[in-house]
């Protein structure tokens, strides 16, 4: 009889609720550092002022417990469940319940409507967006990525042609950022998904945001693509808060996946300056 580790659904709910409060209030240290460091690269005095105030805002949020952004987002949960782990109870229900509890307990905004056209607020910020993956081991890893609506609306997906190549990918990404960055609360982190298919390319872009800020892509060619995209995006002049400047994006993260011989799927997601993330391993 193999030994299986057991986790209670109630403990998972409590862990998710705690993540909701943490993500909303405490900026990841590397994000705070990236915004603070950007002051030295920002040519515009107004842009520098915006960057300094954003750092102050992170600190005020951490100190007062107020959320750093009023849009506390859709709760995106990336869940890695060890194949040797047994969950006592309903895992998905426990995850949603954790979001409901966390958004209530921590005075976060409830930003979910029940139907895209009839639009009645569900009142507890559920349902969350769940991405579940089975992995080796007996642990449960929970990553919460709350994503605001303004920056989420700025994303786009394009099924490019293979002949479009890297140049086509870059033109698509830069055009989208050029059109939408001002709406998405710069300075931004840009996630780019390339490959996979229509289903998976948007998630690739989202997952790319989770790579630690400042670490380039391990693939040298993809890293070069990231560097060129960042240079072109910051040449747009949009700047912090859109008031003009040289720091529109802090980083571009590219993630790739194999794809069909006929396809070159590409997705870009714009992450705002409230680049929130919290995680726990149970």
């Amino acid at each position: 009889m193999p030994i299986t580790r057991t986790l209670n659904a109630a403990d998972i709910t409590a862990a998710v609720a705690a993540l909701c409060g943490q993500a909303a209030r405490v900026a990841p240290p590397e994000m705070r550092a990236a915004v603070a460091d950007a002051v030295a690269r920002e040519a515009s005095p107004a842009g520098q002022d915006v960057l300094r105030r954003l750092v102050e805002n992170y600190d005020v949020a951490a100190r007062t417990g107020l959320p750093m952004c009023q849009d506390t987002g859709l709760a995106i949960l990336l869940v890695e469940i060890g194949q040797d782990l047994h969950v006592e109870g309903d895992l998905e229900a426990a995850l949603h319940a954790g979001v409901a509890r966390g958004y209530a307990a921590h005075y976060l905004r409830k930003s979910v409507v029940n139907h895209p056209l009839r639009r009645v607020n569900t009142g507890d910020n559920t349902p969350a967006i769940l991405h579940l993956r089975v992995v080796p081991g007996d642990r449960l890893r929970l990553v919460l990525l709350p994503k605001g609506g303004g920056s989420e609306n700025a994303g786009a997906l394009q099924m490019l042609k293979p002949a479009d190549g890297a140049a086509g990918v870059m033109d698509f990404v830069v055009a989208r950022v050029s059109a939408e960055a001002v709406n998405a609360c710069p300075p931004l982190v840009i996630g780019v998904g390339i490959g996979g298919n229509f289903d998976t390319v948007a998630f690739l872009a989202k997952e790319a945001l989770l790579r630690p800020l400042g670490t380039p892509n391990p693939d040298p060619e993809d890293a070069a693509l990231e560097a060129e995209l960042l240079q072109r995006i910051n040449a747009l002049g949009i700047g912090p808060a859109g008031f003009g400047g040289t720091v529109t994006a802090l980083a571009v993260h590219v993630a790739t996946a194999p794809c069909h011989i006929a396809s070159l799927p590409c997705a870009v997601t714009l992450q705002c300056n409230a680049n929130r993330r919290a995680e726990v391993v149970l």
Partner: protein, 191 residues
């Protein structure tokens, strides 16, 4: 912008005050403002269609596009930074034209119809810094829901603000601080 002191502005925002503002001016706003975002705008427009009175008087008023977080104990309101103004573009010109709405606060660019309504009727669009929500929440000294409590974060609130930091984005002459700032700092295209 930061090298000059911000202008002190108090509500109500009269047409004369609005027409004196210029794109790029930094402003510290004091007084009373109302909140409204997508769902509230839809309801206000439906009332106009029906010829019925609005629950708030928008004449010489400022609408802040925001859905705040709930007030934790001891705070008048939670975090309260701007939402994307472009989603209100479908409604804003009518509120300016028919209701005398004088100011809007949000983030992001407006459509030409809104810019034109600002010129024609003497209204102003102010940009707040998106993502500055904890700090901006602390500039709100009182908050009260005055309409549509069933909409939750999309209800219309009446905020009392103190030294609320803003930049004039679209003025009454067609000026645009986002466009100007971008032109100033855009790198020349590669040869």
């Amino acid at each position: 912008m930061p090298d000059t002191e911000p202008l002190l502005l108090t509500t109500p925002l009269t047409e004369a005050k609005a027409r004196a503002l210029r794109a790029g001016d930094r402003v510290r706003l004091n007084g009373i403002i109302f909140t409204g975002r997508d769902a509230a705008h839809r309801r206000l427009t439906a009332l106009l269609d029906a010829g019925e009175p609005l629950p708030v008087d928008l004449h010489d008023a400022i609408l802040y596009y925001v859905g705040p977080t709930p007030a934790p104990p001891g705070f008048p309101i939670g975090a309260a930074g701007p939402t994307t103004a472009g989603r209100m573009d479908a409604y804003a010109p009518r509120l300016i034209r028919e209701c005398g709405l004088r100011g809007m606060i949000g983030k992001g660019a407006r459509r030409p119809e809104v810019v034109q309504a600002c010129i024609d009727y003497g209204a102003v669009y102010f940009g707040a810094i998106g993502g500055l929500a904890a700090l901006l929440g602390q500039c709100i000294t009182a908050a009260e829901v005055v309409a549509y409590p069933d909409l939750g974060p999309e209800a219309i609130y009446r905020f009392t603000v103190r030294d609320f930091p803003l930049v004039v984005v679209n003025d009454t002459l067609g000026g645009d601080a986002y466009r100007d700032g971008r032109r100033r700092y855009a790198a020349p295209p590669p040869p």
